[in-house]
Every structure is written in C-alpha cells, then in structure tokens.
C-alpha cells in the first residue's frame, strides 16, 4: 500500500510536471529533498535523544513501571494484546498525555520508544501488530487539547479570539479519534476471525 502511494506521488507528480513544463522546479525539488530531510532529522534527533535520556531515568527508577501499572486499567481495554504492566503502556500513555498538551515534538520520542517496546513483544518482526496499529491510529487522529501552533498562527494574523477554535478542534478530534478506534477494533476482530 505504501509502495503504491509513494509510486503514485512520484509518477503523477513528475508526469504532470513534465507536461506543464514545470521540470525545472521538479529538478530542484528532487535534489533538495535530501537536504530538507537532513534538516528535519537534525532538528528532531537531538530532541529524541533528550527525551530518551530523561525517560531512561524514569525507567531505571521504576517510575515508568508504576506509571504503566496505573494506566493499565484504562489502556488495557484499548490494547488487549499487551501484557499487564508492560513498559510499553507507560510509553504509550506518556505519548498520549504530551500530545494532548499540544507538544507534538516532545511526544514523538515517547512514541518511538513505545513502538520499540511493542516490537519486542511482536511475534512477526516485519508485520505490524494489532497493538501497534491501534497506537498509531491514536496518534494519526491527533488528539489534542490545545493546538498550540494553530493558535499562535491565528494570533499572528490578528484574530480577535485566537483560541475560539479550541472547542471546535476538540469536538472534531474527539469524533475522529473515536471513529478511528471503532474502525480499528472492528477490522482487528474481523481479521482475527479469518485466521
């Protein structure tokens, strides 16, 4: 599926660009994308290192275990395949909480640690597990209490009330999160029956 989408982006883009005489732009874009990626990774990986460092303290001091056990009753329902008190629950909960405060950049390292931890209990290392998919559906629906970037952008453009989209965003993101989780659960159950 990703292979297909990726190929579509590139093939459709280049063919259309060539037809519309836009290949100069394409030329720069193709060559520049490695630079753009490097800049993005350079921006991200120090943050990842910072938070995996802090999280390692939480892990060694058993704080993470405590947190995992505390959230297990809630998250256990969403992730029935994760063993009770497994450390991945702690990472997942941290990722969700930090995302809720609109700190997407700080949440990513916790998400990556959660994926690594889920991979350890994954039976087939090249295939996504059900828990991984549920976790990523939660992430892609972007459940946020305060969309900080949008608010600051609205401030910049002179909104009389930059935060008045908080309520609408919250309603929309809640609906999409609930929908995502329901669809995820239905599909997971159907797949399990087929096997």
């Amino acid at each position: 599926m990703v292979n297909f989408i990726w190929a579509f982006f590139i093939i459709a883009g280049i063919i259309y660009g060539v037809i519309t005489n836009n290949y100069e732009v394409l030329n720069t874009e193709i060559l520049e994308s490695s630079k753009t990626t490097l800049e993005m990774v350079l921006k991200m990986f120090p943050l990842v290192a910072l938070w995996t460092g802090i999280m390692n303290i939480a892990k060694e001091s058993k704080l993470l275990d405590k947190f995992s056990k505390a959230v297990a009753p809630i998250l256990g329902k969403l992730f029935p395949e994760i063993p009770k008190g497994h450390e991945s629950l702690g990472y997942i909960a941290s990722n969700i909480v930090i995302n809720m405060f609109g700190l997407g950049n700080a949440a990513t390292p916790f998400g990556l640690k959660a994926m690594k931890s889920l991979q350890e209990i994954n039976k087939d290392k090249t295939t996504a597990s059900r828990s991984m998919i549920t976790f990523l559906v939660l992430n892609t629906t972007g459940f946020t209490l305060i969309p900080t970037t949008v608010i600051s952008l609205r401030m910049m453009h002179g909104s009389a009330n930059p935060t008045d989209i908080v309520i609408t965003s919250l309603i929309a993101t809640t609906l999409s999160t609930v929908a995502g989780l329901i669809i995820d659960r239905i599909v997971a159950k159907k797949r399990a029956c087929k096997k």
Binding site: W6, S61, L118, G142, P147, I165
Partner: protein
C-alpha cells in the same frame, strides 16, 4: 491553557530527576545511556523520512494536486463547502508543513476570524499527518507490512475533516 503547556515540561523533567535521585539511580549516567539510544533512533529514521519527503515534495511542487482538485470542484460547490478548503483537507494527512503553509495563506487572504479561516484552523488543529506518522513510526522499528493501518488512519482523518466542517458551520 498556554501556561499549563509551558510549565508541563519543566515539571516533568524535575519530577523524573527528583524521583531518580530518591531511588538512588545514577541519574547522569543513565541519562547519557538513554540519550545514546535516542541518537540511534534519530539516525535510523533518515532513510524513511527521505523517501517520504521526496515523494511528497514532488507531488506538491508539481501542482498535480490542483489539477486533480479541479475535477472535484462541482461536487463541492454542490454541498456548499468553500473550494479553498480542499487543498488543506487533502494535504493535512500527507504533510504537516505543507498544510500549515496553506493554513497560513488562508488566514492571510480571508482573515483569521472568517468562516474558512476558522474551518482551516480547526482542520489543522484536529487531525495529524497520518502518512508521516506511519512512515516514521513503522520505519523506525523496521515494520514492512503495515496491514490495515493506513486506510483506518485516513478514514479517521476523513471523519475529522467532515466533523470540522459540520461543527464549525453550527458553532460560528
């Protein structure tokens, strides 16, 4: 709310370090070891990000999206949704920075407190870059078969965008 956002991270760091010291953990050494792992994670994401950014940039800069959108025009006029919101809705799952720049343009051209300004803000605030997240997270741990995750994610995005349109229409 912004105050909570700002104070959250300092308090979290304080709490974790304090708890570590109380539990007699060698906090500095443990931090450095954890950070090492972070460096590895960060670098291992590069090839996946490169692939995705290459594809997304070609798609966006070639303007092929506008071409595809022109076919959807009549349909959107029919259901009375402003056309200008479409690039935003289509780009949101693909690229965070691209949809942010569309949002920026909308706020500039129509005003932050216009209907479409609020709608675009709500869409940006209520969904996330599905394709980017899946690429990054699955790529980092070496998952090749992502199964049904992509279309569940995109379907949820669609629900989010439709909900945004409905909620903003009702509340404003």
């Amino acid at each position: 709310m912004t105050l909570i956002s700002n104070i959250f991270i300092p308090l979290l760091v304080l709490f974790v370090v304090l708890y570590g010291i109380i539990k007699k953990v060698n906090v500095y050494d443990v931090f450095v070891n954890g950070a090492k792992e972070g460096v590895e994670i960060g670098i291992s994401t590069f090839p996946y990000m490169l692939g995705m950014i290459l594809g997304v940039n070609i798609l966006i800069k070639s303007n092929v999206l506008d071409f595809i959108l022109s076919f959807l025009n009549p349909f959107f006029e029919l259901i009375k949704v402003p056309m200008d919101i479409l690039p935003m809705a289509l780009l949101r799952p693909v690229s965070g920075s691209a949809s942010l720049s569309v949002l920026n343009n909308i706020l500039q051209n129509f005003g932050a407190d216009s209907f479409i300004g609020r709608l675009a803000s709500t869409i940006q605030g209520s969904t996330d870059t599905t394709i980017y997240i899946l690429t990054l997270y699955f790529g980092t741990v070496g998952i090749k078969k992502i199964r049904y995750s992509l279309w569940v994610g995109l379907l949820a995005d669609l629900v989010g965008i439709i909900s945004s349109i409905i909620v903003v229409s009702i509340l404003f």
